[in-house]
């Protein structure tokens, strides 16, 4: 089972060496840009920008396929909805459906925007160690008054790290529980109402016991949910500031079209 959330591929490219905070900011900025750009020319430029960055990064294309693939149905749905439900100049008519020219344009625009967002996010997660991303998020959240929500940035970052580390284990446990129940004669047939409780109860019980043991091990190693450091040295260097500046200029130019 491949890691489902992040697909970090270690490397030494320019993108890999940027500070995670730079990349997080860049993805946010590019996301906004993608949804603010109206013209097809602008969207095309953004795709070109993505291709340029990718060729810098030395990352294989399958990373990006894997990022977009789970969302394909959603994107097709958006495209069709726009195509058929936008008022405008009717292109042709089948039965009760009247696709319009405006709908076609809106559909292309919106699906292109989602694809861009996914691609840029994939570019970040593939070129950044996940724990460095959470470390970056922690540093960006630190000045916010999160304690009003009853958490602090350190706890949030640890929670994110744990989720990333434990998701694969959870899937594994589902498989193991299924096998254990099957060996006791449970039949996982077509009726999900029958199999879900038989699976969920031992699963939850196991997960809770694991979580208790894990919590003890964490506490034993000095975890208190308060200030802690990270093995990642986060240092905004000149190349980070220059990249961000370049990006802002690029965004300003693009939005003028």
């Amino acid at each position: 089972m491949q890691e489902p959330v992040f697909s970090y591929i270690p490397g030494k490219s320019f993108l890999h060496t940027l500070d995670p905070r730079t990349k997080l900011t860049a993805v946010m900025l590019l996301g906004i840009l993608a949804f603010r750009t109206e013209s097809f020319f602008g969207i095309g430029i953004l795709f070109a920008f993505f291709v340029a960055l990718t060729s810098f990064s030395g990352l294989p294309a399958r990373v990006f396929l894997r990022a977009v693939r789970p969302m394909v149905l959603f994107i097709i749905f958006i495209f069709l909805a726009q195509l058929f439900f936008t008022e405008g100049k009717v292109l042709t008519s089948f039965w009760i459906l009247h696709p319009s020219l405006e709908g076609l344009q809106n559909g292309f625009r919106l699906s292109a925007r989602f694809i861009l967002l996914l691609l840029f996010a994939a570019l970040m997660t593939a070129s950044t160690d996940p724990s460095a991303i959470t470390c970056g998020i922690e540093r960006m959240l630190r000045p916010l008054p999160l304690r009003w929500l009853g958490v602090n940035s350190f706890e949030l970052a640890t929670m994110m790290n744990l989720s990333i580390a434990f998701l694969p284990l959870l899937f594994e446990r589902v498989e193991r529980t299924k096998a254990a129940q099957a060996s006791r004669g449970m039949y996982f047939g077509k009726n999900p109402f029958h199999s879900v409780p038989a699976l969920a109860i031992p699963l939850i019980r196991g997960v809770i016991r694991d979580a208790e043991e894990l919590a003890l091990a964490m506490e034993s190693r000095g975890y208190q949910g308060t200030r802690r450091t990270s093995m990642h040295e986060l240092l905004m260097q000149r190349r980070d500031w220059i990249s961000l500046l370049a990006l802002v200029l690029f965004a300003a130019l693009l939005l003028r079209f």
């Binding site: 034993s220 190693r221 093995m231």
Partner: protein
């Protein structure tokens, strides 16, 4: 360096797990703790660095009371615990990230954290797995990584709570070798197990049963004590054999009972060469 005075503890559901425990652990000592399942060994382990705090009595670690919340972080830096199940001790996505967890909690600077990861990895000789997921390792390797995670905090005292019970015999032996080596390097070791074979090299053995200390002493006395059988604990077979031989007037010295080869040599020396 660790002292337990009249320690009693019951779980919230009312199960009494420890009753009036008194014991001391000296710096550099290798202590074995044995007892059958449910006798309170793990509960005792959790008291050694303040994960549980006694309801009666107190636990002192280098003069600090584990009930003093402001001292807990220092105490956990001094006493580290390796638990039974390797899978539920990992907090990192990679081995490196997992080893960083303890030092990060100690708020060490990144450079020092990386130095400690390097050293801990060298100690367990698993450098090539640095960027692997700890879950992809075998049970024995996993337990070594858990050990390294504790070593990265550079504790003086290491507590092992049945670390071999989920491993196959071969990797269990490997982990025990590392325990022995760490003791030789000067670490204080508390080794908890229900397998008496593991404790031949201990300086002192404590037997607990139903939350009480039943027996305490040197391995040569404790391991051959007949009351162990009543507790359902089987003495190491070589020691049992030596006891039977003693009844027939053949005395095998203690230090020859540590391995089958030294035992055989001694028998040959007694019967063939003289």
């Amino acid at each position: 360096m660790i002292r337990l005075e009249n320690v009693s503890y019951s779980y919230p559901d009312g199960t009494p797990a420890l009753r009036n425990i008194n014991m001391g652990i000296k710096k550099g000592e290798y202590i074995g703790i044995i007892g059958k399942n449910g006798s309170g060994k793990s509960t005792l382990a959790l008291h050694l660095n303040g994960l549980l705090r006694p309801q009666k009595g107190k636990v002192m670690v280098r003069g600090m009371n584990t009930g003093d919340f402001s001292k807990l972080q220092v105490i956990r830096k001094i006493v580290g615990i390796v638990f039974q199940n390797p899978e539920t001790q990992f907090v990192g996505r990679t081995v490196e990230e997992d080893l960083a967890f303890g030092p990060e909690n100690l708020c060490l600077p990144p450079l020092e954290i990386r130095r400690r990861i390097d050293r801990a990895l060298a100690e367990i000789e698993l450098e090539k797995y640095r960027y692997h997921s700890p879950k992809a390792l075998s049970g024995g390797q996993g337990q070594c990584v858990a050990l390294a995670g504790v070593l990265a905090m550079e504790p003086e005292c290491l507590v092992f709570d049945e670390v071999t019970s989920m491993l196959d015999p071969e990797s269990g032996k490997n982990v025990l070798e590392r325990v022995k080596r760490l003791h030789e390097k000067g670490k204080t070791v508390v080794h908890i197990t229900h397998n008496l074979e593991e404790l031949h090299a201990a300086d002192r053995i404590i037997v607990i049963d139903r939350g009480r200390i039943l027996l305490e002493g040197k391995p040569e006395n404790v391991l051959s004590d007949p009351s162990l059988l009543d507790l359902g604990l089987t003495p190491p077979s070589l020691i049992e054999l030596a006891e039977h031989l003693k009844k027939h007037g053949v005395v095998i010295p203690w230090d020859k009972t540590s391995s089958p080869s030294s035992f055989a040599e001694e028998i040959c020396r007694l019967f063939l060469k003289t």
